[in-house]
């Protein structure tokens, strides 16, 4: 989509821009897709359209750096089109999409295909993430340079961990040529075994094979050693355990180049949900819903800066695939259209996070991790803007999702706060 040509004045809102430490009542003037002015009481230019943001928050466009768009190859689950429509509906102006498509995004041609689709009918910016290894097989490096040249902004074998320490070391070294992060799905598959939920009191009660926290921790520990030795940019995807977070926090204090993201479901639900939901397959994801202790630690990490961003790990599946017994259901839930409301209601409303901190974790934070523009409303920057209501009541309803995936444990939840309008380069992608 092309930038909006013309003028738009978003007035009367509370502008929160963590990149400028801003949180005040300001008007925002957009001209030809860029932020032209940000000021108190801007006089409406004659030829400008207006958007009344009274009572609403105006923020840099939200960025979800961990999304599965499923295209190419699994268009029955999601496409670039439906995935970006879901992003816009959820208040996101940009998503980074994982490489576990079919074929795998391990080459320039697949990266280009995704970007072409995004350009043709994308409702959000799409930042492809290339595979670390060819075919996600964990054996040899993919053509990372080629993919970056085509537009990839990071590499990851997400869905699978890089099990080989040697390959991980080489990825951390090689990616430095392109100044991109290496994103790890941190999981020791030998410790996971046949596990389908967090190993703890609930897996014990339910008799389901457990995925120990150590499965993540062992991998994070190994990778931090490698990141230290290589000075590479290491990013932990969907970090879920207290111990992994501690290690990341310690590594940061030692100036190791590490960042991490957490997913909303790990901040809100615990492993008990598997039992409470009666084995609902919408409580099955990787990493699994962890213990209350882990959840509490992640909440602390959000507040104290150990966590760099919130990412949804939007993982759409077809209803038929999820409508099976728990043990054989695929891992993952959708998140693009639930994340903002969940975070506003469960993190900001109870006072765990300030509103500016949440905006940071959903925009400026991921922009910095990925090294992409966005996450700011500075004059001259692209006018990617999200306007949301901070506390109006809303009921999440999977029936109204734009995403093809309806696999969410949050269907029917009554929450406070929701996106109202999303602007991509000044062009409206969500009508409230």
């Amino acid at each position: 989509m092309s930038p909006y040509q013309g003028k738009l004045l978003i007035h009367g809102g509370r502008v929160i821009d963590p990149s400028q430490d801003l949180d005040e009542a300001l008007d925002l003037l957009i001209e030809d897709g860029r932020v032209a002015r940000l000021d108190g009481a801007i006089k409406k230019p004659k030829d400008a359209e207006t958007f009344d943001a009274a009572g609403l928050v105006v923020a840099p466009g939200l960025i979800d750096m961990h999304v599965h768009l499923r295209e190419p190859g699994q268009e029955y689950k999601e496409t670039v089109r439906t995935g970006t429509m879901a992003a816009a509906a959820g208040g996101f102006t940009a998503v980074a999409c994982m490489a576990n498509t079919d074929p795998v995004n391990d080459s320039r041609s697949v990266t280009e295909h995704i970007l072409l689709e995004a350009q043709r009918h994308g409702f959000a910016r799409v930042y492809p993430i290339g595979a670390i290894s060819k075919g996600l097989l964990g054996e040899e490096l993919a053509e990372i340079g080629e993919m970056v040249r085509a537009g990839a902004r990071a590499v990851s074998d997400d869905g699978k961990p890089v099990m080989s320490s040697e390959l991980m070391r080489r990825a951390l070294l090689y990616a430095q040529h392109f100044d991109i992060p290496v994103i790890q799905h941190a999981e020791d598959l030998t410790l996971t075994g046949s596990g389908v939920m967090h190993e703890g009191v609930w897996s014990t009660r339910l008799g389901l094979p457990g995925i120990p926290g150590a499965s993540e921790d062992v991998m994070v520990a190994r990778d931090l050693i490698l990141a230290e030795d290589t000075a590479g940019r290491y990013h932990v995807a969907h970090l879920s355990t207290a111990r992994s977070l501690d290690m990341v926090r310690r590594a940061k204090s030692q100036k190791i180049n590490v960042t991490c993201e957490v997913a909303p479901h790990h901040l809100i639900l615990t492993d008990e949900e598997v039992a409470k939901s009666g084995f609902s397959t919408n409580t099955k994801m990787k990493p699994p819903l962890r213990s209350e202790k882990d959840r509490a630690a992640l909440l602390n990490g959000l507040a104290d800066g150990a966590v760099d961003c919130i990412a949804s790990d939007h993982a759409p599946h077809h209803a038929d695939e999820k409508d099976v017994q728990f043990s054989v259901a695929p891992f993952g839930i959708v998140g693009l259209e639930t994340t903002l409301s969940l975070c506003l209601d469960r993190l900001v409303r109870p006072g765990i996070l300030s509103l500016p901190r949440l905006v940071h974790l959903l925009s400026t934070g991921p922009a910095r991790v990925l090294g992409v523009p966005g996450g700011t409303l500075k004059e001259g920057s692209p006018a990617d803007v999200t306007v949301f209501h901070p506390d109006a009541e809303v009921t999440l309803s999977k029936a109204s999702f734009r995403s093809k995936g309806k696999n969410t444990p949050f269907d029917g939840w009554k929450l406070h706060g929701h996106p109202v309008a999303t602007f991509l380069e000044g062009r409206r992608t969500l009508d409230g």
């Binding site: 339910l206 008799g207 009666g278 084995f279 017994q325």
Partner: protein, 316 residues
């Protein structure tokens, strides 16, 4: 006995022990007492479930439990139909949901289901009108086994409250142990579990049991010892190195029984691996009530079939 208003069974399904109240457990056990007499008659059959259809759906091999249910159904005059994994449509790629819908279309009154995956009976119960009885779902629950175990203990000890029950063996993969822990805790017994550390799930204590790592510690002063089947197919998967070593660590022998009470009873849900978890001298010895468990299994299952058959969607 204290006089109380008799409770009635109001559940459509029997999915696990975890959700039952002590009064419901007692109702099943008391009802089973009445049914045990039928097994002693010349004509071991009553017309109670005439015209009712019971489907036995076994997605996992079972001889004992399936036969026990079949006999219970026949003694109650129900019509029964057996499905087992081999040759069933599930092997042909049909999803469980489709299987459930097809079963529903046959309008059964009760469905007995065993499946290798925890939660499958629960999933089925939500989809079909018929009452669902869990005959074992993975390592989750096996409620009818725990109930027949309790029935057997009550027959010998006259009570459950205050007893010390030791359960030994492959705890991790056992649905029997989980259902038994729920039941015995609810009824006031004290449970100690024991087994190799490699087969002990995490945070077992949170289920309200004591955990012991030697056979002697586990069975000290026990009124009841339940041995669990060692799943030999787990051998070589890093759980334990050999049958020989397992028997040395956790095999129940006459000599080792000395630590238990003099009137201890020995139970086993079967099928037994003689010489792996239990010596033949114990299995066939004077303390063993293993075959009685099988007999009581029929009475307990008759009681459950009877109670569930009175509950319909409308009355739930």
């Amino acid at each position: 006995m204290t006089p109380e208003t008799p409770i009635r069974w109001r559940r459509k399904d029997l999915l696990g022990i975890a959700e039952l109240s002590p009064a419901e457990i007692e109702l099943i056990l008391d009802t089973a007492e009445s049914f045990s007499e039928i097994g002693e008659r010349a004509i071991k059959k009553v017309p109670t479930l005439r015209g009712k259809t019971v489907l036995n759906l076994f997605f996992e091999a079972s001889t004992r439990t399936r036969s026990s249910f079949e006999i219970a159904e026949k003694r109650l005059s129900a019509d029964n139909i057996n499905f087992s994994t081999s040759g069933s449509s599930l092997e042909k790629g049909e999803t469980l949901v489709d299987t459930a819908l097809n079963l529903q279309a046959m309008a059964p009154d009760l469905v007995i289901i065993r499946h290798a995956h925890p939660g499958v009976p629960h999933m089925l119960a939500k989809r079909i009108k018929a009452g669902v009885i869990n005959a074992g779902d993975g390592a989750h629950e096996h409620p009818t086994q725990a109930l027949l175990d309790a029935f057997t203990i009550r027959r010998h000890k006259g009570r459950l409250a205050g007893l010390k029950v030791a359960i030994l063996g492959d705890i991790e993969h056992s649905r029997v142990v989980r259902s038994n822990i729920h039941l015995l805790n609810k009824m006031g017994a004290k449970v100690t579990i024991g087994g190799p550390r490699t087969l002990m799930p995490v945070e077992m204590e949170a289920m309200g049991v004591e955990v012991a790592y030697t056979l002697e510690d586990a069975i000290r002063d026990a009124d009841v010892i339940m041995m669990l089947r060692v799943q030999l197919e787990r051998l070589g998967r890093m759980a334990f190195p050999s049958v020989k070593e397992y028997f040395q660590l956790f095999g129940l022998t006459t000599a080792r029984l000395a630590a238990a009470r003099d009137d201890v009873i020995i139970m086993h849900p079967g099928p037994m691996n003689r010489g792996t978890e239990i010596a033949s001298e114990v299995a066939d010895g004077p303390y063993s009530v293993i075959l009685e468990q099988v007999t009581h299994g029929v009475s307990v299952r008759m009681a459950i079939l009877y109670l569930l058959s009175g509950v319909h969607e409308e009355t739930v």
